[in-house]
Amino acid sequence: MSRWSKSEMLVVAGARALEGRRVCFVGIGLPNIAVALAQRTVAPDIELIYESGVYGARPARLPLSIGDPCLVTGATAAMSMVELFSHYLQGGLVDVGFLGAAQLDRYGNINTTVIGDYERPKVRLPGSGGACEIAINAREVFVLMRQSARSFVERIDFRTSPGNLGGAALRAAQGWQGLGPSVVVTDLGRYGFDPDTGEMVLLAVHPGAEVEDAKAATGWDLKVADDLQVTPDPTDTELRLIREELDPDGVYVKG
């Protein structure tokens, strides 16, 4: 297989993180293709749940949105959104909530609302959608995003979805069923969170990326794991699935 793009690496690393997970709440965009890849590789039994009101989707094509008709045909259950959010998400059935972010801080707090001032924003972003309640109620939160000093920031402009708040102990004190963000995957590497401080830690860099690249694309003094790994290369199978089956037109992974 030919060399891969940064977006392909991002999708592959996101998919691999789903190994062993049972029920995954799939967000719009990159998570969509990452879970499709996981379902075909490391997590064949994973149940996909979409805020549009689908549980146990088996899409016959790559869905172009989280409300695509291919998610319903052949699914285990289609239901109202009130049922999905109350019984499945708030009810505690979701293992992993997969979120994107426009801005992320060192504690995994997420902004998808505005860049700039709320009342007169520089950029008006989409807002929460279901992200706010996913971040609180899903057992774990995975964040998938492209990394830069503008997206990994010291201070987010708006807290749409809570991460580890200001530190690890704070979320536990709230008594939420959601344990908070556990994995962040970017086009540069894979991150976890320090169990004591709740702060993000670089665990692995993707092949071709250096620690310095990750540090340069981070707006705070980035912690790096002592036993920093290098992400194994995408396999031929992973790349073939992405290129031939999941995203032949390169809609998701062109970058």
């Binding site: 039994d45 008709p69 045909t73 052949g74 259950a77 109350s86 708030q90």
Partner: protein
């Protein structure tokens, strides 16, 4: 491959229903799992807290058999017939022992299951105003709206240890579909820690997936799938068999007399090893009378999108 959860009723009850549990066998007139109730009696469970909107004949049988110490409910009767005499003896005469009652209205019970399913600390509703129910049940409390201060009432979540749901069909993974009256079975199942689904028919996963809007409970909430045709008798399964009103009328006579009740349990519950024996004992003629003519829903098109 999805997990295969198919089990016998004996094994499902032995493994999942424990002495002292809070147990909900739900179903409003429709799809009441008498077969599960009978197996609980056969296995001589004790000190159960039984929950149900309408403790009807199945709970009169179970309480008559001595499996329960408490009843959480909203309407207690033999629907269309009269009283539940085994329960009344325990309430009115403490015969053979008192029975603790915790009482709501239907919407209160429904709200309790809904709060349990939704993991909410309370469920608000416009009920109970100016009645005596909150006076006798401290779990019915006023709550004030943060928007304008309007008072409504609230009930707390009900989270049974075990919920039993009888359904027309499920696949081996427990993905369950029901049509007709669905009562509060969905909420009870989502609220419960353990769920037993009892079905008229075990179907291929593809049958469930052909009509995802008809799915009531996903397999991920289900611990055991028991295949038990006619397991709802004398209750009914829409499209499969009718309610056996003759039995409901007969029960009035049986349950008035503790000895007759004991005899009935000996003959029909302890005297049958499985529900299939009970079904056979009722006889083919009785089942023929209870079988409706078909009335098909028609099919809708979900579209094949590739």
């Amino acid at each position: 491959m999805a997990e295969d959860k198919v089990a016998t009723m004996r094994d499902a009850v032995a493994e999942l229903v424990r002495d002292g549990d809070t147990l909900a066998i739900e179903g409003f007139t429709h799809l009441i799992s008498f077969a599960a109730g009978h197996e609980v009696i056969r296995q001589r469970r004790r000190d159960l807290t039984l929950c149900r909107l309408t403790p009807d004949v199945v709970y009169d049988q179970m309480i008559g058999a001595g499996v329960a110490r408490k009843l959480v409910f909203s309407w207690m009767g033999n629907p269309g017939v009269g009283s539940l005499h085994a329960i009344r003896r325990r309430v009115e005469h403490h015969d053979p022992a008192p029975l603790e009652l915790e009482e709501y209205s239907h919407f209160g019970m429904v709200g309790r299951y809904a709060a349990g399913a939704a993991n909410l600390p309370f469920w608000p509703l416009r009920s109970y105003f100016e009645t005596d129910l909150p006076k006798v049940n401290p779990n019915i409390r006023p709550v004030t709206s943060p928007f304008g201060g309007e008072p409504v009432f609230a009930v707390p979540p009900l989270r049974p240890d075990v919920a039993v749901v009888h359904a027309q069909r499920a696949d081996a993974a427990g993905n369950t579909q029901i049509w007709g009256l669905t009562g509060c079975q969905k909420e009870a199942a989502f609220a419960a820690s353990r769920v037993i689904v009892v079905v008229e028919e075990l179907v291929a996963s593809e049958v469930v997936r052909a009509d995802p809007n008809r799915t009531l409970i996903p397999g991920i909430k289900v611990d055991a799938v028991v295949v038990c045709p006619r397991g709802a008798h004398p209750s009914y399964a829409q499209g499969y068999y009718d309610r056996d009103n003759r039995f409901y009328l007969e029960w009035d006579r049986i349950s008035r007399d503790p000895e007759a009740l004991g005899g009935w349990l000996d003959e029909w519950v302890h005297g049958t090893a499985t529900h299939q024996e009970y079904v056979d004992k009722l006889g083919a003629e009785r089942w023929a009378e209870l079988t409706p003519a078909p009335a098909l829903s028609g099919s809708v098109d979900y579209g094949d999108y590739r």
